[in-house]
């Protein structure tokens, strides 16, 4: 990249805020591992040394939504679980992105049934749909790269300060 040479030569670089913010954002995507069923096993494989999600700056799997930018919904989402998924998504700070990992999450998959939501796009804005049952770890990395490209293309003004939606407490009965 020649950044070192540039810095030693001139001592400064010129860029835009958008480019700098985009570059910083896309190389430090912190995922929220929303592992619900078997896709979560492949998601774990992505963290191991063979596939190594750390190469893309996303090794920091946070188990609190408040520190995450990217939600990887990995597994079958039932109607009962959908409220929990949405509640966690609502707690993530903007800008945030969603990967629908696997057939179940994208379309209900083989669970064509009364209890399974036929695609999480019915209650979440999805950025990437990932094919596979479950998808290979390489495929998840590919999805992450595409999310990075999407973040790289984004402008700072795309994410104005928003009022957070009011969280509704689920009736626990």
């Amino acid at each position: 990249m020649g950044l070192e040479a540039k810095l030693t030569q001139d001592g400064f670089i010129t860029t835009t805020v958008d480019a700098l913010a985009g570059w910083a954002r896309k190389n430090s995507v912190w995922p929220m591992p929303m592992g619900i069923s078997c896709c979560a096993i492949e998601m774990m494989a992505v963290g191991d040394p063979k596939y190594d999600i750390a190469r893309f700056g996303s090794e920091v799997m946070r188990f609190t939504p408040r520190q995450c930018d990217l939600m990887i919904v990995a597994g079958t989402v039932t109607y009962k679980m959908s409220h929990v998924v949405r509640k966690i998504y609502d707690q993530m700070p903007d800008p945030k992105f969603v990967i629908a990992m696997g057939a179940c999450t994208s379309s209900g998959g083989m669970y064509r049934s009364y209890s399974v939501v036929q695609g999480i796009d019915q209650f979440l804005p999805v950025d990437i749909y990932l094919a596979g049952c479950p998808p290979r770890p390489d495929n998840l990395l590919n999805a992450l790269i595409q999310i990075q490209e999407k973040i790289g293309r984004s402008r700072v003004k795309d994410f104005p300060d928003k009022k957070l939606p009011e969280l509704t407490v689920l009736q626990s009965n």
Partner: protein
């Protein structure tokens, strides 16, 4: 003596006023009787020192849709002493969709019976905590009944707002 003969014979001797039918299929013994006898039979099978059916493996039901006695409640129990399984069956009609609980015999029956109630709508008399176990509490239907559509009833389960 073969266990398939021993268990029915034992039942006939010890609780002679309870009528039952026995059936052996694929080396497994099934006993069918009236639903009002479920508690005494289970209590006997568990507490008799020669039988000791201590383990209630599963309780489930069958929906026969158009039959007179629409449901059959099925109990799978296991004896650690005899190392054998036993299947108990009781017919329950839709007009009187109730059967006595066996929670007092096997405590594990609590959740099994809640599942049967959730999926088939069969009520269990004197159950300590008869609530739905899988479906949300506000759900109005019983999904494993034959007249329940595979994809459910639109609007019966809520989704979060987008």
């Amino acid at each position: 003596m073969d266990l398939k003969e021993f268990i029915p014979q034992k039942l006939r001797e010890k609780i002679p006023d309870i009528l039952f039918k026995e059936n052996v299929y694929r080396d497994e013994l099934t006993i069918t009787f009236d639903k009002q006898n479920i508690q005494p039979v289970c209590k006997f099978l568990k507490e008799d020192p020669e039988l000791e059916f201590l383990l209630c493996e599963d309780i489930t039901a069958v929906d026969w849709a158009k039959r007179t006695n629409r449901f059959t409640v099925v109990y799978h129990i296991f004896s650690l002493k005899l190392k054998t399984r036993l299947c108990l069956k009781c017919d329950v009609d839709e007009s009187d969709c109730k059967i006595d609980t066996v929670t007092s015999v096997w405590r594990t029956a609590n959740w099994h019976e809640r599942e049967v109630f959730d999926m088939y709508g069969i009520r269990f008399n004197n159950h300590p905590d008869l609530r739905r176990i899988y479906m949300p509490e506000y759900f109005e239907y019983h999904p494993l009944r034959k007249d329940f559509p595979l994809m459910g009833i639109p609007g019966s389960l809520s989704l979060p707002k987008k």
